[in-house]
Amino acid sequence: LLDWWRGNARRMRTMFAVYLVFIFGAIGVYAIVGLEHL
């Protein structure tokens, strides 16, 4: 599987995930806002 998710890189994975969730979460929310009028 994705080995950068384990081992020595474990310490950094929280912030990596937080950024991804934040970015794609916002994209998702405003896609719904935008699509409401489509």
């Binding site: 080995d3 081992g7 310490r11 912030m15 937080v18 950024y19 916002a26 994209i27 896609a31 935008g34």
Partner: protein
């Protein structure tokens, strides 16, 4: 915990700044929006409703897409294009995708290399381009959402001025969409170009975005 924070201080600091400035954009945005509503004799909306509006979302996505475009183009262009003497460039002789030894892939990968850097085939292809893939994906998604939310804003404006509304596809060809797009893009390209050339002659002690203070002007790339 202190050790954890120190190790992540750059990403935590910038996320905190981002969230704080989004709150600033939200609170000032709702006031500006409601002032506009009042001027048109329309009802004001709550701060909560504004957070979930095309006006706020459009302004947010409009800026996001240009940032991710900036990084995507810089990541890609810097593979082949160089700026001699720049902290942001690699050596002119290294222009291109570079070989496995330099990229530490395949049999040149060290023992602690990510597994997808060691193996051959599609997984290596994906992993060796993963930064560009993710940044570009975010760019295209945010640009798409910008087009939707700006289109809603545009039609709201049209309605307020008793003019005809247009479809999303029509909006994609409208000057309003491209004016908003280009005004964001131009600043990003200027910023990247500026970093590329300014770091030839200018320094910031301690920053990896700069060469070492005593590095000669014609030294390309940063070891800081």
């Amino acid at each position: 915990m202190r050790g954890w924070f120190r190790d992540q201080s750059l990403s935590v600091f910038f996320l905190a700044l981002c969230l704080l400035t989004i709150v600033g954009q939200w609170l000032s945005g709702v006031r500006a929006y409601n002032a506009e509503q009042e001027a048109h004799g329309e009802p004001a909306i709550s701060a909560g409703r504004y957070l979930y509006s095309s006006d706020f979302g459009g302004n947010l996505m409009e800026n996001w897409e240009s940032e991710f475009l900036q990084f995507s183009t810089f990541i890609l262009a810097a593979v082949w294009l160089v700026q001699r003497g720049s902290a942001e460039s690699k050596d002119p002789d290294d222009a291109g995708l570079m070989d496995d030894a330099a990229m530490k892939t395949g049999r040149h990968a060290p023992n602690n290399a990510p597994r997808w850097a060691r193996i051959r085939g599609w997984r290596r292809r994906v992993y060796e381009n993963s930064l560009l893939i993710v940044m570009t994906t975010i760019f295209f998604f945010t640009w798409w959402v910008q087009s939707l939310t700006n289109w809603n804003q545009f039609n709201d404006d049209q309605t307020q001025h008793h003019e005809t509304t247009i479809s999303w596809l029509q909006y994609l060809g409208n000057a309003d969409f491209w004016q908003r797009t280009f005004q964001n893009w131009q600043s990003e390209f200027l910023a990247v170009g500026t970093m590329a050339i300014f770091t030839v002659y200018l320094r910031q002690r301690g920053s990896p975005e700069s060469k070492a203070v005593g590095d000669p002007h014609d030294k390309t790339g940063s070891d800081v």
